[in-house]
Symmetry: C2
DNA sequence: TCAGACATTGACACTAATGTGAAGGAAAGA
DNA sequence: TCTTTCCTTCACATTAGTGTCAATGTCTGA
């Protein structure tokens, strides 16, 4: 599909899709006319990128971990350098702490909302 | 304590502590000489701010939710406007989706690392 | 077939947010 | 006094994301 359709389906502006390509998060094919040609699977890919960016991961890290998220069991196992493995372990640890922090604070917000809803009069 | 000690204990540069004050995430007292005077509790507060920023929350949101994270059951229940409650519910939902996204991708990285460690020769 | 509407391209510049560096001066402490 | 710490302020770096422009490609309906 072309960029307009992908933008519509992912609700990500075309401008941003080109930006992600510039950041090497996407590598669509090109038609004879030079237009980008996105595979069907890139709809999910874009959603995944958005989620990771929203979660606070920088593009540089996303670029590194994206290939591992496709097919963990098959293709990409072979080209795993020790550096990549170290990076992934490091990032996994960071994601763990992120998850922990977010969970703690979300729970605190939930507790606050519960307390408010129960009413200030209840001790 | 003064800014230098807080910086040392939290490992957050003094420059950044002043920046957080500018962003209204911290409000230290001031001594007669104009020096910032940080309460003991702000050590944890700074750690919490760092965690939330690392998790991708912007300062504007952190500023809003910080007061609710202190003592959900006591003090701040009274001054909860409907707008604040709506904001908190919205942010909690966003944090939920962040947690979900991070968890999914972390698990995918884990699966990849497991597969690599088991060795490419195992089908 | 051709004209007009619309999509796509690359390119440059720009904003907003987070984070830093450094200059110049005042206060603290040895 | 002399060094360290702290003050304010200005400027800059980086990252994610936008605006916009002119040129070109595509599509549709007369």
């Amino acid at each position: 599909m072309r960029i307009g359709e992908l933008a519509e389906r992912t609700r990500v502006p075309t401008r941003l899709l080109r930006y992600y390509e510039e950041q090497e998060l996407l590598s669509p094919d090109r038609g004879a006319n030079g237009y980008r040609d996105y595979a069907e699977s890139l709809v999910d890919r874009v959603t995944q990128i958005r989620g990771l960016l929203d979660a606070g991961l920088p593009t540089k890290i996303i670029r590194q971990i994206l290939p591992t998220l496709d097919n963990p069991c098959t293709i990409h196992v072979t080209d795993a350098t020790p550096e990549l493995i170290a990076t992934l372990e490091h990032e996994r640890a960071r994601m763990d702490s992120r998850i922990g922090c977010l969970t703690r604070n979300r729970d605190a917000i939930s507790a606050y909302l519960d307390a408010v809803r129960r009413g200030p009069a209840t001790p």
